[in-house]
């Protein structure tokens, strides 16, 4: 049995993980993976067919189930493509910041002293810094491709992991079994990987779930400013941003991607909540 789940938890809630978030996310992942293969071309534009409403409304056609945008592109196709981009981005950024944060947190918690101080100071700076300004500057310099965007989002997310991991490690440091391992001659790396890492898995997993949701929303904000994923393959946030001038007139341009976005975020958040309740509600607090 993993030491992480047993150690340090006096009380554990017996609420199981709900099914609907998992199912919903599975659906989205499926759509993201296979949707674009069966949907029409999201780039096919037709200026004569712009701003058509969804199929079940007057003026709508079955050819464009969810309607078209300002350039006549099929919204459903754009939506599936955007879902893919949003998910990929969220997962990549969350994983990236998790890796970075866990690494730094382990380092800080294990070695203590100046390294710890330095890393924690950096973490404070990252948490305090208004991301938007940094994002504008960096993304404007390097251009609007996927890689720098993921890098910037990663830069934004690691500190919270570092803090949580360091705190968890500090708790573990007090435990006798670690001293026993040291006395037995275990090297630093072995201790970190075999003993400390499993114990931080739980809180990191919970954080990660929330992070994905957060990254997806954040990218939306950057898209609003024109700094998110560039056309012609924008994220869900980007599609919403494109249609935001026509909230009333062409409501489908913002409502459908919006609903998808919200469902995605809510599902991740709900999953994160359930994971936390399941694993250990107390240990998750930072």
């Amino acid at each position: 049995m993993r030491s992480g789940l047993a150690a340090g938890s006096i009380h554990r809630a017996r609420t199981p993980v709900r099914r609907w978030p998992v199912l919903l996310l599975a659906l989205f992942v499926g759509l993201a993976l296979f949707g674009p293969l069966i949907a029409p071309d999201p780039l096919a534009q037709s200026l004569r067919a712009r701003l058509q409403p969804p199929a079940w409304l007057e003026d709508g056609t079955l050819k464009h189930l969810l309607g078209t945008d300002q350039l006549g592109r099929d919204l459903l196709a754009r939506l599936l493509s955007g879902l893919r981009v949003s998910l990929a981005l969220g997962l990549a950024a969350a994983t990236g910041s998790a890796l970075l944060g866990v690494g730094l947190g382990l380092l800080a918690g294990y070695h203590r002293g100046t390294i710890e101080g330095f890393i924690m100071r950096l973490a404070d700076i990252q948490l305090a810094f208004p991301l938007l300004v940094l994002a504008i500057a960096i993304l404007a310099l390097v251009g609007g491709s996927l890689t720098p965007l993921v890098l910037v989002l990663t830069l934004f997310g690691w500190a919270i992991y570092a803090r949580v991991v360091r705190a968890a490690v500090l708790v573990q440091q007090q435990m006798d079994y670690l001293n026993a391992a040291r006395i037995a001659g275990a090297g630093h790396l072995r201790i970190i990987v075999r003993h400390l890492l499993p114990n931080v898995t739980a809180p990191v997993l919970v954080l990660w779930t929330f992070s994905v949701a957060q990254m997806i929303v954040l990218e939306g904000a950057l898209s609003f400013l024109g700094l998110g994923v560039r056309p012609p393959a924008p994220s869900l946030g980007g599609i919403m941003s494109d249609g935001r001038q026509l909230l009333e007139l062409a409501w489908w341009l913002t409502v459908f991607p919006g609903v998808t976005l919200v469902a995605l975020v809510v599902a991740f958040n709900a999953l994160g909540d359930d994971l936390r309740d399941w694993l250990d509600p107390r240990a998750m607090r930072t």
């Binding site: 009380h11 809630a13 100071r121 404070d124 700076i125 948490l127 305090a128 810094f129 208004p130 991301l131 938007l132 300004v133 940094l134 504008i136 500057a137 960096i138 404007a140 310099l141 949701a213 929303v217 939306g220 904000a221 609003f224 400013l225 946030g237 919403m240 941003s241 935001r244 909230l247 009333e248 913002t254 919006g258 976005l261 919200v262 995605l264 975020v265 809510v266 958040n269 709900a270 909540d273 936390r276 309740d277 509600p281 107390r282 998750m284 607090r285 930072t286």
Partner: protein, 308 residues
């Protein structure tokens, strides 16, 4: 106590310089503000002249040291676009942003506590789940959708509130709600988790089948405990809120620091950007520090841990 204060002040200074340095290099390396200022429809000789005038033609390292020296005297130079003193511009806009952000924070806290407590105390009930879900909705919906939607409903259709600006209390309602929605879910979740912890201990002892605590003392105790994690994150959340405030100010045309920062960054008016970031960092780190100090005053155990 004094040691803590001194340490905090030192950390503040280091943080300020650190952020400022990052900003300096990134912005300087990222593009030419003068060309932007002139725009595509102006001539090219002026560009060279202005660049020399602002010392932008000197090597980067020289610029850095000179600027660092000036920053120490709180001289951030003048706005490239308008010529006003950068720090003056930033400070003139600070009050409004603080009002917006603080109000949003207060609203979020004021709503999060009852929602979180309810969600924990009546966790089996459907309505609490829906309530919590509503807060999730607020966080998930992008601000650039929530804001305009609220405007469309409350200002245009029902004519209950004004659309944009910051001239009266009525003007503040929609932007504050929009901004608070970003934070509400997170705080509510925290309160709920804390309350669950508190109630959990009670469950073991009293084994109530319905899970409906009648004990008001318990609720009060729970609420007080719930405040602790909320206060803890106030500092860092304040910083994130400031970022979200930039979007809010843009949508509602509120002349705050975030709006100024955004325009300045897009125009690469970096004296203004640096002054703005400096002020924001000061406020955020300052708030963080105050929160930490307050925290240690509340809980001596924490003070011990920090000093360890």
């Amino acid at each position: 106590m004094t040691r803590l204060l001194v340490r905090r002040a030192l950390e503040l200074a280091i943080t300020l310089i650190g952020i400022w340095t990052v900003l300096f290099f990134v912005i300087r390396l990222s593009g030419d503000p003068i060309a932007l200022l002139m725009g595509p429809n102006a001539s090219a000789e002026q560009i060279e002249a202005m660049r020399a005038d602002l010392g932008l033609d000197r090597p980067l390292a020289t610029q850095y040291l000179l600027e660092l020296k000036r920053m120490a005297t709180l001289d951030f130079g003048r706005s490239i676009r308008g010529g006003q003193r950068a720090l003056d511009l930033a400070c003139s806009r600070l009050a409004i942003s603080l009002q917006l952000t603080a109000s949003a924070m207060l609203l979020a806290v004021a709503l999060a506590i009852p929602v979180g407590i309810a969600a924990a105390a009546w966790r089996e009930r459907r309505w609490t789940r829906w309530l919590l879900g509503l807060t999730f909705l607020g966080q998930a919906l992008p601000i650039f959708w929530t804001g305009p939607m609220l405007i469309l409903l409350f200002a245009v259709t029902w004519q209950l509130l004004p659309v944009a600006g910051w001239q009266s209390l009525a003007h503040g309602v929609l932007p504050v709600i929009t901004l608070a929605s970003v934070l509400l879910a997170k705080l509510a979740r925290m309160v709920r988790a804390e309350m669950l912890e508190v109630l959990g201990q009670d469950y073991i002892r009293t084994a109530r089948s319905k899970g409906l605590p009648q004990n008001t003392i318990l609720m009060v105790h729970g609420a007080r405990n719930a405040m602790i994690p909320v206060i803890t994150v106030m500092g860092t959340e304040f910083g994130q809120l400031v970022g979200a405030a930039v979007l809010t100010e843009s949508i509602f045309a509120i002349p705050g620091l975030g709006d100024m920062l955004l325009n300045a960054a897009l125009a690469r008016d970096y004296p203004v950007v640096q002054a703005g970031v400096f002020v924001i960092t000061l406020v955020v780190v300052g708030v963080n520090a105050m929160v930490d100090i307050a925290y240690t005053l509340i809980d001596p155990r924490v003070r011990h841990a920090i000093d360890a």
